[in-house]
Subunit: 385 residues, 2 copies
């Protein structure tokens, strides 16, 4: 018993690895972030007019400096949003989760979004990944982001190697204030790591100050991200004030669990763990039926009698975190499943239909994005700055 509970405690969350049974309460303490409490949710609701389901249901659960950001907003100092995607493979629904929330923030607060595609990161950190392969995925991933309907007039895609004229000058200013000892401690780097990977965190830190540099005024920054990316900004946060800029606010999400259960996160590198945005209706159906971890009982009879456990059921989690925004409908599914009225096969069928409806629309918009994605690319050369 004691051994089992110790095993449950063991989890790891870094920008390059998420594994184990993640205890988000412990992570809040470990990372030194704050819980997203009712007071902050009420402040957000006041300005947005509503609360996004991902806020109501704890998908976004932690933050840094949200009170400061809202203070600034209320003073008329509008923030910008910054998030990103490090390309190395296809997009799955777990990736979309924070971006859908980011779009909601953009719409509700009517703000600019800088979206970074650090196309050197995975190349530098993965031994066998080629530069050209990452370029291919960068294009593919941009289509998925564009398909989410961000306002192209207020959304700027930064591709690190293509927009290095803008990013590198700011990155070196940040890098000058970060020693190898610091990244060694923060990320667990060793001396055999390559010097590009060692430098990389400053390229991820740079967009926080870029709009302020370009517009020559201090613009507050809000970063919605999955919590594994927090260490980059934990390192950089100390640096921004030294350069004359405010620290960014951050709002952290949990991870969408993999199909197999609640350990780790949905991952592109484990194909059977993920629903990809390009999956066909048949593929979605097969994956959910075959892999989605069930909170139901072993036999129909037992399930009818004792009911299932929605908190352990992956299909229910996906509905809660992403696909069923209606609280009443979700509650009914919850109660029906818990009471045994709803069978696992029926619950899975609800999810399959929801996902396929979403993906049909997404794939249509993704196709259209092939022509429109250019509108999002930052064309500034930076030479005349």
């Amino acid at each position: 018993m004691k051994k089992e509970s110790r095993e449950h405690d063991e989890f790891s969350v870094t920008p390059w690895e998420v594994r184990g049974n993640i205890d988000y309460e412990k992570l809040i303490k470990k990372f030194g972030v704050e819980k997203l409490n009712d007071k902050i949710l009420a402040r957000i609701k006041k300005h947005a007019g509503e609360l996004h389901p991902m806020l109501r249901r704890g998908v976004f659960f932690a933050h840094r400096d949200m009170n400061w950001l809202l203070d600034e907003y209320e003073k008329g100092n509008r923030f910008f949003l910054y998030t990103g995607r490090s390309p190395s493979g296809p997009i799955h629904i777990g990736h979309l989760m924070p971006w859908i929330f980011t779009k909601w923030l953009q719409d509700k607060f009517n703000v600019e979004l800088w979206f970074q595609f650090p196309d050197e990161e995975k190349f530098l950190f993965k031994k066998n990944l080629g530069f050209d392969e990452v370029q291919k995925w960068t294009h593919e991933n941009m289509l998925d982001v564009a398909a989410l309907g961000f306002n192209p007039k207020k959304t700027h895609f930064l591709v690190n190697t293509k927009n290095a004229n803008l990013l590198y000058p700011e990155a070196v200013k940040i890098a000058k204030k970060i020693s190898f000892s610091t990244v060694k401690a923060a990320f667990g780097f060793t001396n055999d790591l390559n010097i590009g990977a060692i430098f990389y965190t400053s390229m991820q830190a740079a967009p926080v100050i870029l709009p302020s540099v370009l517009k020559k005024k201090k613009i507050p920054c809000l970063i919605p991200l999955a919590i594994d990316q927090d260490p980059h900004f934990r390192v950089a946060r100390d640096v921004y004030p030294k350069l004359g800029f405010p620290k960014p606010a951050i709002i952290h999400s949990i991870f969408l669990p993999p199909l197999q259960g609640t350990q780790g996160k949905m991952s592109s590198s484990e194909k059977s763990s993920a629903i990809f945005t390009t999956d066909s209706p048949k593929e979605v159906e097969t994956k959910i039926k075959k892999y989605a971890f069930s909170g139901g009982k072993d036999t129909l009879e037992e399930h009818r009698k004792h009911g299932g456990n929605p908190d352990k059921d992956v299909s229910y989690q996906y509905l809660k975190f992403f696909f069923e925004p209606d609280d009443k409908k979700l509650q009914k599914i919850h109660d029906d499943y818990k009471s045994g009225r709803l069978l696992t096969s029926e619950l899975k069928q609800i999810l399959i239909e929801k996902i396929n409806k979403f993906l049909k629309e997404h794939q249509k918009k993704r196709k259209l994005a092939e022509k429109s994605v250019g509108k999002f690319l930052v064309k500034l050369n930076g030479f005349k700055k």
Copy 2:
């Protein structure tokens, strides 16, 4: 006696520090480069029609892979030249020395030149140097380079933070193959060094492959440089073949000694050690008269009787390395000084006139460069690559 000879052995040559009484023979062995022998000089002469005084007089004294470069040239595979200047202060005549030789190579071999201004380097390595100050010096230094008369149609200035779109993608490919252990060993870095400085060497290594990447064919590269910069390429040379590119050839120069004597090199940070390109005729006269180390005897009488030592006389060295290209005239000065016919004050006067004649012309061209320097800037965005 033994102690004295040991002290004379102690010298240090790194990209960021040159001090002591440099033993170039020892440096050749330490750096693992080859001496520029008569056979190679003859091959250069065959193609150039003559030998530049800096080749005849050993200012350029060592090399890597010059035979390979000349083999390629003879096969019709023309090379390009790559050199640079890391801005952090004004240009002195010691800086100009390898660039004047580079221009000779460009003219004689009719080749392209890529000239790098790594405007992040000194910013990253000098604690109290600001980014904006380096930008000011970058502009000032570009004027001096442009004033030397490079062919603007065949000369491309790369400013690292302005041309990062071109350099950063190639730098990350190089960086992926260089570990922190490697730069630690090559440059003596420690863990408290900042992560931008650690990454920097890959930005200096990138122009070696850039023209090949842009033109999609393998173009040999020849780097004329002062030998303190060799360690950057010693680290990168192992990497180029792994990326499918040939190693660059390098031709190394000695340092112009400081006015005070033959220890170390002329340095912008020690004002009294250097003749700057913007010095007035009066300033040049005063500096030479006041600081130029003399190989003459203590009294007029002794000098007339025993003669001076031209090998220790800084004025004579400057004439030999830079300002008196005519071998016969130089020999006469040498012999007259050695015999005592020529006094130190007379030798200094010869040098003062030579330098002031050179600087008058240089300052005129430098002024004109304020309007023409834009022609040299690489405007390629790199976005469409």
